[in-house]
Each structure stands twice: as C-alpha cells, then as structure tokens.
C-alpha cells in the first residue's frame, strides 16, 4: 500500500524507538526505581513518612565540605558550563575543530603554577536534545540516525572530566543546570548523582593523573546538589587557618543580554542571591562583573534567545578567575589572573624603564642647572661705567 504520509507516521516513530533500544539499550520515559518485589510488598505511607520526605527536600545552602587551600595564596577558579553536548540547536563553539578543548586548556592554564585550580562544571552539560521527541523526529542520512542519546552525552562528559583533570585541575565540582533538571523531571533520575557518579566512581577510586613532572596526583571530583550553593574556602597556613566564601548560582533561565537583567533573573529564580565574598552566576547571556557578582561565559556558540528569534553570538573567555586570599577571614580579591609579566621580556622591559628614569633624572637636573645659570645672568649687575670706558678706549 502506498505510504500516503511518508514524512511522519506513528509506525516510524515507534520503529525508530525500538530500533534505538535494540542498538544502544537506551530507554526513555520515567522509571520507577523500585524492584518488582518492593512494589508487591509496599503499603501506603503515613504522616511520619511524609515528614521524613519533607525534611529530605531541604538542601542545605552551604556545602558540607570545605575547599581546602594549603599554603598557597591563590585559588584559581574555572567555570565550564553550557557544553550543550551533542545538541544541534546551539552547539559548543569550536567542537568541529577541537578548539573547544584548547579553550578549556587555556582557561585552566591562565594562572600561576603554584595556584590551586578548582573547576566547576556548572550546569547545562548534557544538552537538551536527548528526549524521545528528538529521536522520533531525527533525520536519517547515509543510514545514520542523527540522534545522540543520554548515554553518549554522559560518556562525553566523562571525557571532558578526565581532560580537565589532566590539564591542571586540582579539584572538580559538578552542579546541575537546567538541562540536568529537565532530565530529572523527564526520567526521574538525578543524572549527575545516579548515572554519572555510579558509573565511574569506581574508576575514580583508582584514578591517578600523571603530571608533567612525573608525579601523580588524585583529582577530587564531587557532585554538589542544588542550584544555589555557598562554598567555604579554608586556607591553612603554618600558623593559622582562614575562611572565605563564594556562592554559585546555576540553573539560570533568561533571554536578557544585560548584566542587570541577568542579576534580576538570578535573584528571582533563586529566592535572592546568596551573599558571599564573591557571587558567581554562570550565564550564557551576560558576561562581566557588577559589584561582587560575576557572570561567567559559557562554552556554547549562541546566547539563549526567545523561541523563533535569531540568537546572538555569545562572548567567550570570561570564565577563569583568580582569588587572592588575604591574611584575615574574608579578605579576598579577584582578578582574571595574577600572571602580570611576560617572563621572556620582563627583564629587558625593566632595564629600559630604569634607563628612562635615569634620563628623566638627568633631564630634570639639567633644567635646574640651566635655571640657576640664567638666574646668575640676570642677577649679575653690569658695571656700565667700566663697559662704556672700555668702549671709548676701543
């Protein structure tokens, strides 16, 4: 029978999902995580269970672990977000020619070698186009289904985690963004907590990174639930311990392109920003800083825009910062980096500056000497009688 509607029919939609499951094992839709036996033996919950569940909903504002800095004076922080892994609508900038990796490496390296480097994977990593609708509507070219499922995205995220660990990160923190929350709603799974950490936590236990010097180091990777979190930074010196704090606000949804608009959106969506020494809001749309609030740039090509609007190109490279930690609690300053010199040219530049200064001193001394000579000329009262007599004699 002739296919009257070749482009879209229920049969094809079902077939492609079945095929996908057969090929990859990926499932879609919400999953009740209880076993069949558990379901058979279950009974209705009471007030006590309700109160327990309500208590569990409260996610504490402050992370219960400290970010520890031993001896170093600086903490280099890098924000990596808006990866949009395997999404077509707003792919990562530089994904086609691997310059995306170079950009991450550049952000990690823009610091002093002695600085501790903390990397936040601050949300919107797994992308949006992994749901069943995207699969059902996927094009097929050269017998390839142009759809990239959740498992592929998680595998890619792990690649990035190892890349970051090998290129300078000392500690990595993963936080949920909108994409991860969407997955939680649709699939009933906390992707970063359940899927990711279970999958490769065992690898992490034995994981060691060989650094250039031949030494090995373990990179701590943590998953931190919540979208509004305060982190204590604990700096341990020989004689004292100091504390500073930062807050991080992920999960921002806005199409505003100004910092004020993004700040208002973050305040509204997070029930006010959590005050801290510095407040970080990973944002694709606004890049910059406003008082102690810093909006870091993401990795995607475009800013978020209203549906059907043409998006604007996003700005890159404002995602790494150095916190200079002072010798008092909460005495902290921020800059992009504390690399203030070019090691190759610095000595020559200083030498030239010193010579210029000496020339300036000599020029000032010469001006002073000329002024003094002139003063003597004008102070010198000529002897007119003597001069006139000598002229008569001529």
């Amino acid at each position: 029978m002739q296919d009257l509607n070749p482009k879209n029919n229920q049969q094809k939609q079902n077939d492609i999902v079945d095929l996908w499951y057969a090929l990859t094992g990926d499932k879609f839709g919400k999953v009740n995580l209880a076993t069949n036996d558990e379901v058979a033996n279950a009974s209705p919950a009471g007030t006590r269970e309700y109160i327990q569940q309500v208590k569990r909903k409260d996610i504490p504002l402050v992370w219960d672990n400290d970010i520890v800095v031993r001896g170093q004076k600086n903490l280099h922080i890098v924000f990596l977000h808006d990866f949009n892994l395997y999404d077509m609508s707003n792919p990562q900038k530089g994904v086609e020619d691997m310059t995306s990796f170079k950009a991450i490496k550049s952000a990690l390296g823009n610091k002093n070698p002695s600085d501790k480097t903390l990397v936040f994977f601050s949300g919107d990593v797994i992308g949006k186009e992994f749901n069943i609708t995207s699969l059902q509507n996927a094009s097929i070219e050269n017998k390839k289904i142009l759809f990239w499922g959740l498992q592929k995205r998680i595998d890619k995220l792990i690649d990035y985690l190892f890349y970051v660990a090998k290129n300078g990160a000392d500690e990595i923190i993963l936080m949920n963004g909108r994409d991860e929350h969407q997955a939680k709603r649709k699939l009933n799974r906390d992707i970063l907590d359940d899927a990711l950490m279970d999958n490769f936590n065992s690898i992490l236990l034995d994981y060691a990174v060989e650094t250039i010097s031949g030494q090995t180091k373990k990179v701590k990777i943590s998953y931190v639930p919540g979208v509004k979190k305060v982190f204590n930074i604990k700096r341990i010196t020989a004689d004292k311990t100091y504390y500073y704090d930062i807050s991080v606000h992920t999960n921002l949804k806005t199409t505003s392109k100004t910092m004020q608009g993004n700040k208002r959106a973050a305040q509204n969506q997070h029930g006010e920003l959590a005050e801290a020494d510095y407040i970080f809001v990973p944002s694709e749309n606004a890049v910059g800083s406003y008082s102690n609030v810093i909006f870091s740039s993401g990795l995607a090509r475009y800013k978020d825009a209203t549906k059907s609007y043409v998006p604007t190109v996003s700005t890159k490279g404002y995602n790494s910062f150095t916190l200079v930690l002072g010798d008092a609690n909460h005495k902290v300053e921020i800059a992009r980096t504390t690399n203030f010199t070019d090691p190759k040219t610095y000595a020559v530049e200083k030498r030239i500056a010193k010579q210029q200064q000496e020339i300036q001193i000599l020029a000032d001394a010469a001006k002073k000497a000329i002024d003094e000579k002139l003063a003597k000329v004008y102070q010198n009262q000529p002897n007119y009688k003597k001069l006139l007599d000598s002229e008569k004699g001529e």
Binding site: K316, D342, E349
Partner: protein, 379 residues
C-alpha cells in the same frame, strides 16, 4: 561627511579656546595623531592618541569622577590610589570627566551635592595638587571634560568655562573635550611583535546600545577597531564583554559578510561617596576606589589558520582589579603584587649626585645614556 581632519592646529578660528595648542610631540611618551574637527563649527570632536612606550603588559588606570571639592569627596583615598599606581613604570593614568564637582560659584548650582567642602574657585587647585607630582604627571594620558567641569557640561551651564581644560593646561597635559581614542602598543606573547590595542574614553554614552554602535562608527571614521570602551559618569565600577557584528569588505569595497568582534565595556568608580541626604544609603556602601586594568595580548584558543577571517589570532586580555583595599586605606593585595614587578624605586643617591654636578657634565651623561637607550632600541 561630518568630520574633517584638521591640518593646522593654529589656524584662525572663532573659538580659539576650544583647541589645545600643543601640537608637538609630548615630551613624555604620547603623541597626538589626529584632532578631528567638525566642518560645521570649530569644535574638536575627538582626539586620537598613541602611546610610545612598548611593553608586554600595561597598567591602565581610569581615574574617573573624582568630584574634588564636593560633599563626599574622599581626598585621602584619591591621592593614595593615584600615587600608588604612578609608582609602576608601565602605568598609563587617564583622568576622566568630573574631576571637579562644582565648577561654578553659583550658590544655586545644580551639582551632585548640595554642599561644597571646598570653595568652587579653589577646587581646581585640589585636582592640580593631586596630579602635580613628577611620577603622576609623566604618566597622564589626558584629562577629559565631564558634565560637571567641561565647557558644555549640564552642571556647568552658568559658567561656560572648561575647568578641566584649565587644569590640563596648568599641568601641561592634553585636554579632551568629548572623546579620546587611545592606542597602546603591546608585545604579542609568542612572536613579541608590536600590536596596538585601541580604547575609546568617553564620559557618558547614553545607553548600552549607543555605546556598542560606536564600534562601527569609530571604525568607519578612523579605521581603528576598538578593543574597549571606557565609560564614566555612573560611578558604578563594572565590566562587561559584548559581541558586536562588524562588516567585512574586500579591497574593492564589496561586502563579504560580518565578523563578530568582542568589545570590552569598562566603567570606572568615583572618589565621591554619598553626597546628599536622599542618597544616604551610599554612605554605607563600599569605600571609594580606582579601577585599574592590566592589559596584554593573549593567544585566542579558537583561532586556526582556516578561521583566520573569523577569529583573530590574538585577543586582548583585560585584567581588571581595584587599586585600593576595601577594608583599609592602603593598596590592594593585587596592586602590591603588581608593584613588586613594576614599581621602580628612585635611586636617591643618583638623583642627589647629579643635581649637584655642573651643567656640562650632566649634558654629557645625558647624551651617553640617551645614545645607549636608542642603540638598544635600534638593535
């Protein structure tokens, strides 16, 4: 075309006071490339300057909105900030508009504050004293007029005198009425070639959109692509990065497409705290400060040879921080780190030695030192 390049700075004009007379090489390190003059009147619209000294890193200090003499003016922190920054041999000190709060002596003057801490006629002296230091003066790029102290400022209507122009003349530095385009030569990190970063300084752009539009307007007018626009007036101390599409043409003028150009918008602080009772909350705000920028070139990680028309090989690294600590009247930790590298101590023995020698010996030594420096440059 609205503007023409002025050929002769001393030509007859109806308004000679609007033009600065200094058309010669600035003895310190900058020279004027162009004074763009409006055909319709004699006004100087903007000045294009170029720094001479080449470094890998430069410290640009934007001393904006000093509001000297007005209620809330923080003289101690202002002097401290300027002097500390001036210690760095690679500092470029730009004095923004509103260096004076109340330029006219009208008791009903409409300024930020409803009270002066200093008599208006004496407030220019306050600014002059702040800046009249050898280390500071030698690093001043220019002084810009603002709405409080320039000839057409709305808070200066009764006066129609440019106080900031007088201060610039007294110090022997350049005065800029509306806008300054400043080109700074910096060394590239890999090949150590000289490449210029271009910054526009204006007191107020009106709105973000208008500021961003200046990128294409300035490119059309001067051929220069701006890397940053430094705005004042709002006393906010912010920074932001935007992407602006810039048309690309071939050598025949045919439009090829657009290039996405990243431009930095910086906004300086002020040295005036709260100044009126209805702004009392400002008295509880942060202390006054000076925004400084460590400028350099960095390699653009997105650059490849194939994408050379879309992605530049080098991107400006504009590393902003505060000059003063927030909790004390002292340089910030970051400025202290910077000074460890760039502050030059004046050799007092050298200075006192040569100040006593006769003129002939001084000039011989001067000649020797200048030749040695020039030889180094030629090599």
């Amino acid at each position: 075309m609205a503007f023409k390049k002025s050929e002769n700075f001393t030509q007859d004009t109806n308004n000679p006071r609007l033009m600065t007379d200094r058309n010669e090489l600035d003895a310190k390190k900058d020279y004027i490339l162009e004074r763009s003059q409006d055909e319709r009147s004699d006004e100087i619209r903007f000045i294009k300057k170029q720094a001479m000294n080449v470094n890998s890193h430069v410290l640009l200090a934007t001393v904006t909105d000093i509001h000297a003499g007005g209620q809330g003016f923080d003289a101690k922190r202002c002097k401290l900030a300027i002097n500390e920054v001036a210690k760095c041999f690679n500092a470029h000190i730009y004095i923004g508009g509103d260096s004076v709060d109340n330029a006219n002596n009208n008791p009903n003057c409409a300024t930020n504050s409803f009270g002066n801490r200093v008599r208006p006629s004496e407030s220019p002296e306050v600014v002059y004293d702040l800046l009249n230091d050898r280390d500071v003066k030698s690093k001043i790029v220019a002084i810009l007029g603002g709405n409080h102290d320039a000839e057409y400022g709305n808070r200066n209507k009764q006066n129609d005198t440019s106080i900031s122009h007088h201060i610039a003349d007294a110090l022997g530095v350049d005065y800029v009425p509306y806008g300054l385009i400043y080109s700074i030569p910096l060394l590239t990190p890999d090949t150590h070639e000289v490449k210029y970063q271009n910054y526009l300084f204006i007191h107020d752009a009106g709105s973000l959109d208008k500021a961003l539009r200046l990128v294409n307007i300035v490119k059309e007018e001067t051929g220069l692509l701006l890397d940053g626009i430094m705005i004042e007036h709002l006393h906010q101390g912010q920074e932001a990065l935007y992407t602006v599409p810039v048309p690309v043409y071939d050598k025949n003028g045919k439009r090829l497409g657009d290039k996405n150009h990243e431009v930095y918008i910086g906004m300086g602080y002020s040295f005036q705290n709260g100044s009126t009772i209805y702004g009392s909350q400002n008295m509880f705000g942060q202390k006054t400060n000076l925004r400084v920028y460590d400028l350099s070139w960095q390699l653009n990680p997105y650059y490849t040879h194939d994408k050379s028309t879309e992605e530049p090989k080098y991107k400006p690294c504009i590393n902003a921080f505060n000059a003063l600590a927030q909790d004390a009247d002292e340089p910030s930790m970051l400025l202290k780190m910077y000074q460890k590298k760039y502050a030059l101590e004046i050799n007092k023995n050298y200075e006192s030695n040569w100040s006593k020698k006769p003129l002939e010996k001084i000039t011989t030594e001067l000649k020797k030192k200048t030749e040695s420096l020039n030889n180094g440059r030629e090599m």
